[in-house]
Every structure is written in structure tokens, then in C-alpha cells.
């Protein structure tokens, strides 16, 4: 069963008088429990694809389905609801709120969901524990290392129990040792059933993925398992 399906996805940016085609008729599907790596050089369209997968952007053409639901024609509010309930997003720059502590950052998605406060806190604590930061829950991002920051971002993605975890260059800002621990955390999550799509240009990261898709100039140029 496919969690995410992109059919003939095309994304065009109008930069002044210039038209930039970021994605050209892309077909990708991600199955439940898969760990997919997307590789390509800078400007190949990887991040655009992640943004479309994460419902942060719409494709100019084509259809994108998540959990069997076509999101191409959904309103901005409906896309927000999907992001709040079905997608866990992890980025290279961690995207944490500097003024919040670890627990507050991880519990943030519950601000936009229906869970009660105590339930949100207990789920956030469980997610923090799962990424190995139980002792750091009251620390601010400025008091954490790069690896710990990424773990907090992973915990925040996990806390909503998403259908799909999207990671955009998750090890881009980390040293090799920390990168290894983050990748092994992804592997562990995948082994427990999480569906993960990772965008990377590091082959060391991609080597842990069950399937690797290579993109160049907005087109798939190859795939390997």
C-alpha cells in the first residue's frame, strides 16, 4: 500500500520574466514502512519535491496523494490539517523555537490539534525519551549540541505519530559521528514501522535507505534498492 504517490508532478517557478522548471513530470510512490532516500546535486529539485510531499507547496501540474487522499485541490486550511496530523517534517536547520525548551518544542504540534494538554505533554515526553533526550527536556535549544537539536526535531516529527516522516538534509549541519547516530535513529524508527523519506546528497546517509531515487534537473534519472 502506498503512503504517498506523486503522478506526473510538475513544478514551475516564475522568477520575473524567467520560468524555472524545478520538477518535470515526476512519478514517485512511497510504500508503508519504506525508508526512501532521494539524492541529487544542488538545484536538482529534491527540496521542492519534499515541500510538495510535505504539503508546504502545491505542484503546478500533476496529482499528489497522501494516505490515498488527493491533496492537489485542497484548500490552504485543509493542507494545514494534513501537515498537523499526517506529516512529520525534519530539516537541516532543525527549525526549533529558540525561546522554548525541548518539551515545549516537541509539544508544539499539539497547539494545532485537538488533544488535551496533559495528553500532549505525556506524548511529548514519550517522544523525547524515544530519541534519548529524557534528561534534557527543560533545556533550551541554545544549550544543546547539533545532534541533540536534530533529535529534538525528530521527536517533534514523531510526536504526532505521522503517516510519513520527511527529512530534508537531516545531517547537513552535523559532524560525521553525530550524523551516524541520527541515521541509526532513523533506521531504528523505520524498523519499528515508520515510513521515512530522506533527501540527502551524502551517499553515507543514502546507503542506509531501502530505496534510493536519483534526481537531476527535476527528473528521476535512476533508482536503486
Amino acid at each position: 500500500m502506498n503512503i504517498a504517490e506523486a503522478h506526473k508532478i510538475r513544478k514551475v517557478y516564475q522568477m520575473g520574466s524567467e520560468r524555472v522548471e524545478a520538477l518535470r513530470d515526476l512519478d514517485i510512490s512511497v510504500r508503508v514502512g519504506e525508508f526512501v532516500g532521494i539524492m541529487g546535486p544542488s538545484g536538482s529539485g529534491k527540496s521542492t519535491l519534499m515541500h510538495i510531499f510535505g504539503c508546504l507547496e502545491r505542484a503546478t501540474q500533476g496529482r499528489y496523494l497522501i494516505g490515498g487522499q488527493d491533496v492537489s485541490l485542497l484548500s490552504d486550511r485543509e493542507l494545514s490539517v494534513i501537515r498537523a496530523n499526517q506529516i512529520g517534517f525534519i530539516s537541516q536547520s532543525f527549525n526549533l523555537i529558540a525561546q522554548y525548551n525541548v518539551l515545549e518544542n516537541v509539544a508544539m504540534p499539539f497547539l494545532y490539534r485537538k488533544e488535551r494538554n496533559h495528553e500532549a505533554i505525556s506524548r511529548a515526553e514519550a517522544a523525547i525519551e524515544r530519541v534519548g533526550l529524557a534528561g534534557r527536556r527543560n533545556h533550551r535549544p541554545s544549550e544543546l549540541s547539533g545532534g541533540e537539536l536534530q533529535r529534538v526535531a525528530i521527536a517533534r516529527a514523531l510526536v504526532i505519530r505521522p503517516l510519513l516522516i520527511l527529512a530534508d538534509e537531516p545531517t547537513g549541519n552535523l559532524d560525521s559521528e553525530t550524523s551516524k547516530s541520527i541515521i541509526s535513529l532513523f533506521c531504528e524508527l523505520n524498523e519499528r514501522g515508520a515510513t521515512i523519506v530522506v533527501v540527502t546528497h551524502e551517499s553515507a546517509v543514502a546507503s542506509h535507505c531501502g530505496r534510493i531515487i536519483h534526481i537531476l534537473d527535476g527528473r528521476i534519472i535512476g533508482a536503486e534498492t
Partner: protein, 411 residues
């Protein structure tokens, strides 16, 4: 739906993060609300004082007062066969007024009460029995001036409560009081009556607590210098039906002008009309005040909007993060609008506290009556919240319409 408790908590934190900036942007609202609260308190105090003065004259009453005339004016009046207000006018009004009413003449005389320990001259009011009902006076002891006293010229008097106490033994029932060259026996003492000092004006209210009432016609003769034009000082007309006051006042004026040889040497005061006028003046005052307050609040609102725009620009990335984890545009709007509403409400509360303090000090230092009413506080807070809503809405809408991807890339 984002929880309101969470929203306000988030907003507090965001504002607290920039304490000085929040405080400075709040100052505009604080000063505007101080101005509104203090000015409304002064206006309301003045209005209440005026209305109380007018109401104490009696809403059903029409007061005819003899005007102070210069020698030349008196000469003109004599030539027109006017002797000023007289008992004949009273008789004429009793006969000619078409509506049920009570009419009480009054002559005010300034005289020394010899037994008094105080050197202040007391106002001696020579009245008929009707004055008690027309002015709604109540007795605590004894009786009031009766028809027989007026008819036979009995030398009796009724004292105000305060004067009775001031006179001590001489102020009790049965005591004899010397006024100028005459001795009056005290036959009654009035109940204490609410009275507030007011500026001397046509509406100035007599302090009956310090008054002496004697039968009309028995008053001690004033010295030549004090002699006034007119046989009596005032005629009080109490119209039974409030609805007839206006028409009766017109009739009183017409009758008296005709009787005074077409000379208007008297003043007709209609408290009911004065209340309408006072209310109109207050409405105009409130409109002017509203404009001043509106301008101040607009200036304050611009300050808030400026702060919120700076906050939105500074927190672009945060907006992107929130959008990426599921915040809708409405959530973003609510967050920023609630920040600006909290800012203005807080400014409003501080302004209310300082404005009330200002009103108190003005009252204390200048001796003006001020009144901080609940509605003025509610109005100030409501206006502050509205300014918060309006000035926060544009920055909030701007924030909500950021492209999440671009916002996430913002450094």
C-alpha cells in the same frame, strides 16, 4: 482549533521577550486611555453636579426671580408701572394659570441673628405655608409657618437643622431669637437636607440647613443700602403634572410681562428645560471628547501596528515553522492579533489606573468634582481592545499570508 489559553500564553511570552519594546509601544495607548478616563471623569462630575443642582430646584418647579436692576433700569421699570415682583403677581398667577399648581412667594433678607455665635449673616426667608410643599421640606420638630402666621404677622420662625445646632439653647423650640430689631419665637426645626457647596449662579442652591424661615410680611426692614427692587424676591410655582411645566412656564412669563408693562425685570428658571440643555451640552462635550480620544487612540494604534510589523518581520522563520507543523492562517492571525489585543488591553488597564488617579488628584487639588463611572472604564477598555484588534489585524494578515517555504528559509 488552537486553544485560547495556549494562544494568550504564547502571546504573553512573545511580548515578554521584548519587554522594553512592548512597554514603549504600549505608552501611546496608556496616555490615550488616561486622557479618556480623566476627561470623562471631569465631564461626568460636572454633569452630575449640574444635574443635581437643577434637580434640587425641583423638576416640577418654575422659579421666577427678581432681577437686580440698576438705578436707570429701575427708573425705566417705574415708568412702565412695574414695581418688580409683587404679591399681586402671585395672586394673578394663582388666578390665571390654567393648570393645577401651588404657588409660593418668597422674600430673602440678609440679617444678623443676634444669638448666633458665628458672624456669618444668615439668609432669612420670608415665606408662606405653601413653600414647605413646593420645596419638599420636612420638619424634624414643631411646625412650619402657617396661613395664620402670615395673616396676623406672628413673629415666629422655623430654623434649619444646622443653624438650630449652631444656636445651642437659643435654637430649641420655644426659644426667642432676635433678628435685627425683632424677636421671633422658634416654632419648628427642619430635617437635615443634603446640600453641596456650588459656585454662585442662577442655579445656586440654598443651604436650608442654615436658613431661617419667617412669615412673609414680618421680615425685618433692610437698611436703605440693602433695599432691593421688588416687593418679593422669588415666586415658586410647582406644577402638579410634570408634562405641563413647559407650557406653564410660557404662561407665567406671558402673564408677568403683561403685568409689568411689557418689561421683563424678572428671570424665569425652568429646571426641566435646564436639564435638557445640560444634557445637550454634555452630549456635545462627549462628542468632542470622543474625537480627542479617537485621535489619541489612532496615534497609539499606529505605534502598536509598527511594533507588530517589526515583530512579524523578526519572527518570519517562526511563522514558517508553525505553518510547517500544521498552523493554519487563522492560527497565525489569532496569535498576532491576540498579542496586539493583550498589549492594548494591558495599556488600557494601566491607563485606567493612572486616569482614575489623575481624576482623584484633579478633584483633590482643583476642588472639581470628578466621577469615574463603570461605563467610562468599560468604554476605555473596549476602545483599547478595538485599537488592538484593528492595529494587529494588518500585521497578522501579512504574517498569515507568508509562503511557508520562503518563511522557513528566512534568516
Amino acid at each position: 482549533m488552537m486553544k485560547w489559553g495556549k494562544i494568550s500564553q504564547e502571546s504573553w511570552r512573545a511580548l515578554f521577550r521584548h519587554k522594553l519594546r512592548s512597554l514603549l509601544s504600549m505608552l501611546g495607548i496608556v496616555f490615550a486611555v488616561i486622557a479618556v478616563v480623566a476627561m470623562l471623569a471631569i465631564g461626568e462630575g460636572a454633569k452630575r453636579e449640574t444635574l443635581e443642582q437643577i434637580a434640587s430646584l425641583g423638576i416640577n418647579n418654575i422659579i421666577v426671580r427678581q432681577l437686580e436692576l440698576t438705578r436707570a433700569q429701575q427708573q425705566t421699570a417705574h415708568e412702565s408701572h412695574s414695581r418688580g415682583l409683587s404679591l399681586f403677581d402671585v395672586k394673578l398667577l394663582k388666578r390665571a394659570l390654567p393648570v393645577p399648581c401651588q404657588i409660593a412667594p418668597l422674600k430673602a433678607v440678609q440679617a444678623d441673628v443676634l444669638a448666633s455665635a458665628t458672624k456669618d449673616p444668615f439668609e432669612i426667608l420670608a415665606v408662606t405655608t405653601d413653600y414647605l410643599q413646593v420645596k419638599n421640606l420636612a420638619l424634624s420638630q414643631g411646625r412650619f409657618i402657617c396661613d395664620g402666621d402670615v395673616l396676623h404677622g406672628n413673629l415666629v420662625c422655623v430654623l434649619g437643622d444646622e443653624l438650630s445646632k449652631l444656636l445651642g439653647d437659643k435654637g430649641h423650640l420655644g426659644a426667642v431669637l432676635r433678628m435685627e430689631d425683632r424677636a421671633y419665637r422658634v416654632v419648628g426645626i427642619l430635617q437635615q437636607r443634603q446640600w453641596a457647596r456650588s459656585k454662585p449662579s442662577a442655579l445656586a442652591v440654598r443651604n436650608y440647613n442654615r436658613g431661617v424661615f419667617i412669615p412673609l410680611g414680618t421680615e425685618p426692614l433692610p437698611t436703605i443700602g440693602q433695599r432691593r427692587f421688588g416687593e418679593i424676591s422669588e415666586i415658586w410655582v410647582r406644577v402638579t403634572d410634570e408634562a405641563n411645566v413647559h407650557a406653564s412656564a410660557k404662561a407665567v412669563r406671558r402673564i408677568l410681562v403683561h403685568n409689568h408693562g411689557e418689561i421683563e425685570d424678572f428671570q424665569v428658571i425652568v429646571p426641566q428645560e435646564l436639564i435638557i440643555q445640560a444634557t445637550k451640552i454634555q452630549t456635545i462635550f462627549n462628542i468632542i471628547l470622543g474625537c480627542i480620544a479617537g485621535i489619541s487612540l489612532i496615534v497609539g494604534g499606529i505605534g502598536i501596528m509598527n511594533t507588530m510589523l517589526a515583530s512579524v518581520a523578526e519572527r518570519t522563520r517562526e511563522i514558517g515553522i508553525r505553518r510547517s507543523i500544521g498552523a493554519t492562517r487563522m492560527h497565525i492571525v489569532m496569535q498576532f492579533v491576540s498579542e496586539s489585543i493583550i498589549l492594548t488591553l494591558l495599556g488600557g488597564c494601566i491607563g485606567i489606573a493612572l486616569g482614575s488617579g489623575c481624576a482623584y488628584f484633579i478633584s483633590h487639588l482643583a476642588g472639581w468634582r470628578t466621577l469615574v463611572t463603570a461605563w467610562s472604564l468599560a468604554l476605555s477598555l473596549g476602545m483599547a481592545a478595538s485599537v488592538g484588534l484593528v492595529s494587529g489585524l494588518y500585521p497578522a494578515m501579512k504574517a498569515a499570508h507568508f509562503d511557508p517555504v520562503k518563511a522557513l528559509r528566512h534568516e
